[in-house]
């Protein structure tokens, strides 16, 4: 066999190529029309639940109660609890710079301390009215700069984060698509153009 013919035979025979080039690429993906069908996957969030690891158990319970109070289910839309917001915020705060971590931890500890001081109970077991009495004085309207007082700052940040994380949740999007008229009430369900990394380079 002429050398050229031999090479052609190797290229045409799937079994021969790996035998000759043991560590070489074993497929013919370089050739047009040979790509295998794409394997279907599901988002991990649909198949599993988050495992919170940043807040202490009592901080997480306090956050659950706070989230349920600030963003309950309204107009048939899911609320913060249904949207998995406390667990998401555990992840978000846990991945955040120290300033946000401190803001959240200190803010949640403060709510618990107030509940103990005023009612000798844990924040999550307070009545609605008792919770309002603690939260309302901590509310302040703001534009760009959150309130300077750290407790007011915490509530402003938590209220904004809880609301955004609810409106942007998978659960909210599902509810909105099942009843489009609801989507307009309360906004949410953002869909947009996401920029992928552009010609990324690896760090040296």
């Amino acid at each position: 066999m002429k050398r050229r013919r031999l090479l052609q035979a190797i290229a045409a025979s799937p079994a021969a190529a790996p035998a000759l080039l043991a560590q070489g690429p074993g497929s013919r993906l370089g050739q047009a029309g040979t790509a295998p069908a794409r394997i279907a996957t599901v988002p991990a969030g649909e198949a599993a639940t988050p495992a919170p690891r940043f807040f202490s158990p009592i901080q997480l319970e306090t956050l659950r109660k706070l989230a349920a109070t600030l963003m309950p289910p309204l107009n048939g839309n899911p609320g913060a609890i249904e949207a998995g917001v406390p667990e998401f915020l555990d992840f978000l705060a846990g991945s955040s710079p120290a300033a946000r971590q401190k803001l959240y931890r200190a803010g949640l500890d403060h709510l618990e301390a107030e509940a103990k001081r005023l009612h000798a109970k844990s924040f999550p077991s307070l009545e609605d009215g008792q919770i309002d009495a603690i939260l309302k004085p901590m509310l302040a309207p703001w534009t760009y700069d959150p309130p300077a007082d750290p407790r007011k700052h915490f509530l402003a940040a938590a209220r904004a984060d809880i609301r955004a994380a609810t409106l942007n949740s998978r659960e909210w999007a599902a509810a909105a698509s099942s009843a489009p008229s609801r989507r307009r009430r309360g906004g949410g369900g953002t869909v947009g153009l996401y920029w992928l990394p552009i010609d990324p380079t690896r760090p040296a």
Binding site: L70, M71, D145, L167, V191, G192, L196, T201, P203, A204
Partner: protein, 524 residues
Amino acid sequence: MPRKTYDVLIVGSGHSGGMAANVLTSKGISCLMLNAGPVADFERDRVTKAAHELPYRGLGKPGDLEHVFQATEYNANTWVSEKEIPYTHGNQTPYNWVRVRLVGGRSLFWARQSFRLSDYEFKAADHDGVGENWPVSLAEMDPFYSRVERILKVTGRKEGLPQFPDGDFAESQEFPQTEAVKRLTAAAQKQGIAVSRMRSAMGENGLASSINLLLPGALATGKLDIAANAVVREVTLDKNTGLANGVLFVDRHSRQEMEARAKVVVLAAGTLESTRLLLNSKIANSSGLVGRYLFDQQYGCTVVASMPEARDGKAKPGMIGGGVFIPRFRNLDKGAKRNFIRGYALPMGTGSTPDARYFPAYGDELQKKLDSYAGSCIQGGIYGEVLPRFENHARINPGVKDAWGIPVLHVDARYGGNERNMAKDAANTMEELYRDAGFEILVKSDRVHPPGYSIHELGTCRMGKDPRKSVLNEWNRSHDIKNLYVVDGSAFVTGGWQNPTLTILALSMRASEHLADQLRAGEV
């Protein structure tokens, strides 16, 4: 391999570099453009995603781009990473440096608001005795402004106001004169304040970028080569003549060190990057002013109100919607006595839905408020002049290097009493106008964002006739090195309240034509 030779080497491909390439190549001058980042592909690099498909539900990756308030989780990959190319500032003096290194730079994403400076800015020192005049006047800039306006297709309404010079406007539809707009206009007129409308560049398909308006024409001449991913570290000089002869750069992917040569070097890397290049090269600084007189415009001060008649879904067609634009109205008379000099503009929009943060409420109560106020809001802000001050500066921080081993900038800038008093006046004025128009105030804040937020960083290589008091001459050419030009916002002497890009483009066009003449005459 023989290296190609070029007449002019341009660093940066944004508005300023794109204009230089466009003008120079149109006159037959060969150019090499180096740009630090890659080309973005608007088809391939963008995908449609719901917020819940993003890792942080659209709230953004924590700790990423902390100084870029404009960043979202959707567009995070378009900004310069603060980890890859850091800069430093003092603990108490934050500075927001908002950068794009893609080919086209920030022209890919700018908001296209386009205003001329007036002689209140070009000749500010003549008006109030503070600072320096520009070495050019509105009359000299007028033909260049007109040509740039035609390229960008700037729309606007002619007003005949000296502080708000009219331009060569493309035809455009009138904004709706709704009841809300009429009431705001009447309230302003009662105080002798002139009301206009926004002026903005239509470009092509909503894009007024170097990549669609300037670079294609330059490439079509066959006289332009663009090298992407070329991170310039310094400008090189010929040892014998002291003239610039090219640059050293790093290939962003391979990290190979390269050198490029040309007869003339034009810096168009954006105000602070051009400044960083000069400082790292240790050149063109006999005045000691490279990096000095950094300023921008102050933004952030906001007043939001609601039109009661437009609440609870009762807004009828023609009641609310559209905006007004109030150009500078303070200190126009020479003898004006206020606790601040210069002035600010007030952009205002009507018919918006309020942000939840304006209401001290939660749960059902908050949702009812949001439903009730939806579409009834009037929102105004400040575009405020910032005084150029010697103390506000950028310098090299030798202790910190970026991912390419290039020393980074330390920025030291703060606003002063003039800015604070101006912001207070702006908030009070907006409140008065709203009340007079019968609107209910929801929030009022006279606090402004940190310096840099407006993305209009200017100064640091200012132009002037006196080489002791300026870095560049009246043609954007270095006083020290006669074949080195800087054509971006660093040349500004004052900035006024106006978004600067129209002026950056007009200056770059003017400088590039002058350079072409010099080349033709064999002067450089």
